[in-house]
Amino acid sequence: MELFQLIDPIYIVTIFFFIIGMQRMSHPLTARSGIVWAGAAMLIATLVTFFTPGLTNLALIAIAIVIGGGFGYIAAKRVAMTDMPQMIALYNGMGGGAAAGISAVALLGTTTAATGSLAVVGGLIGAISFTGSIVAFMKLQGWMRPRPITFPGQKILNMAVLALAVISGLLVILQPAWLPLPVAMYLPLFFVLSLGFGLLMTLPIGGADMPVVISMYNAFTGLAVALDGFSFATPNYAMVVAGIIVGAAGTLLTLNMAKAMNRSLSNVFFGAFGATEETGVEIKGSMKAIEIDDAAVLLAYADKVIVAPGYGMAVAQAQQKVKELTDLLESKNILVKFAIHPVAGRMPGHMNVLLAEAGVNYDHLFDRDEINPEFPSTDVVLVIGANDTVNPAAHREGSPLFGMPILDVEQAKNVIVLKRGQGKGFSGIENDLFYRDNTRMLYGDAQETVGKLVQAVKKF
């Protein structure tokens, strides 16, 4: 038996392992073994691909794998846990770029009408995912302004670019005889327009919507990979099946996330959320600051404290100190719970991961529906670097946040908001909570401030 005859059996085993892996990843207890299953499958699939009949450029392939693999490995190892969301965006974009590249190579060679069409659609989606994900990465990384970038005529321009990309793609497939330019000219045009559209459609999307966007581009890349699987002379079913699974799972995940934020997909993509200010509403009251010692008194003499963490906690790397503080409060027989908004941080589950890293027990974390009824009976809510997820403006009709499910922290007896400055949240919307009578602002770096709080509480 020749080695290449092993390719299909091994691809089938790969797919089987992928499905088992995803299944295991969908339960907290087995999650970690899931990625190991999938990883092992990927490794053997990659190795057996070297035996593809007629494969040349083996040295080039090996070098490219070392370069790309090395970069991916080192960058992913070095980056801080807080920056994981944008790394997912980055690697997803690279997958989309690879898919676009496969399409390009396929279209440069000889294709049939069927394989050519699928390569064009795969190339379009892959290219959009590539530049779109890169923009998402840059916005989250802070290399680009996270707020929506809008300009007059934007939607028309975007639609025109997409239409032109589709037309040039059609010309590449159909190759009509009357074309004024040689067909080879339309291929680069097609890719430039597709890449451009990915960039343009992501610009007006604000940072707060990025998780949904990244998830959608993840599904896009899966779909592009699946379509590219058909672009070869003999279809690569490993790509087709894995790509479709990711496409379907990613679509469902995207819809779930959008639902958790009470945003519709069309809203995410065309709403330019956070670009406009609500007008005509004046927030009553003023922001009232509190000193460390006074905050410590409130905490030390409370019966029940709920911590509502947000991205600010992650940025300040304050989770260790927060854990210290909550341990201290528990040692004083104070009931401590964590309120985790589904989209706190930059992604669903982001806070859970960071708090777990700091050693906070799983059973201390409560999601929005579980914890919301408890706020009225809570003495102190400590909001650490959260903003939009605790903004009661979401209950007010006309607010851009209206309808978004939030943590109802304002119902607690006292709310202490730890915040670096007086700035707005990621959505760019003013937070009513900060002006409430029962709210006190504790300004400063979260890690430093919580550290001081620990010292101050110890005195009581």
Binding site: A38, A64, I65, M239, G247, N361
Partner: protein, 103 residues
């Protein structure tokens, strides 16, 4: 096999794969959304094998150049996607293994 049987076989495969993806995700708690997104991000790294074939069958320098870039990007998707997912899931593992540590 004729083209038309290939076509219908492909439709069967796509339908079943889509259903599988849907079922695997449908009963997942919100806290696992990020790891799962990261995990599925890793799984579409299978694009690497396609990029390898594209580069391996490339004949002109232009095809080779594009294929090379595709393999680099695909390989980064695979290793980066794996490490990110592994690191995220490690956090869950830690909290699962030491229950009641601070209780």
């Amino acid at each position: 096999m004729t083209d038309i049987t290939t076509f219908w076989t492909a439709i069967y495969i796509v339908m079943l794969a889509a259903f599988t993806g849907y079922v695997v995700i449908s009963r997942v708690p919100a806290i696992l959304h990020t790891p799962l997104m990261s995990g599925s991000n890793f799984i579409h790294g299978i694009v690497l094998v396609g990029a390898m074939v594209a580069l391996g069958l490339a004949t002109t320098p232009l095809e080779q150049a594009i294929g090379f870039v595709a393999v680099v990007l695909g390989a980064a998707n695979v290793t980066g996607g794996y490490v990110v997912t592994e690191r995220i899931l490690q956090m869950f593992d830690k909290s699962g293994k030491k229950p009641g540590k601070e209780a």
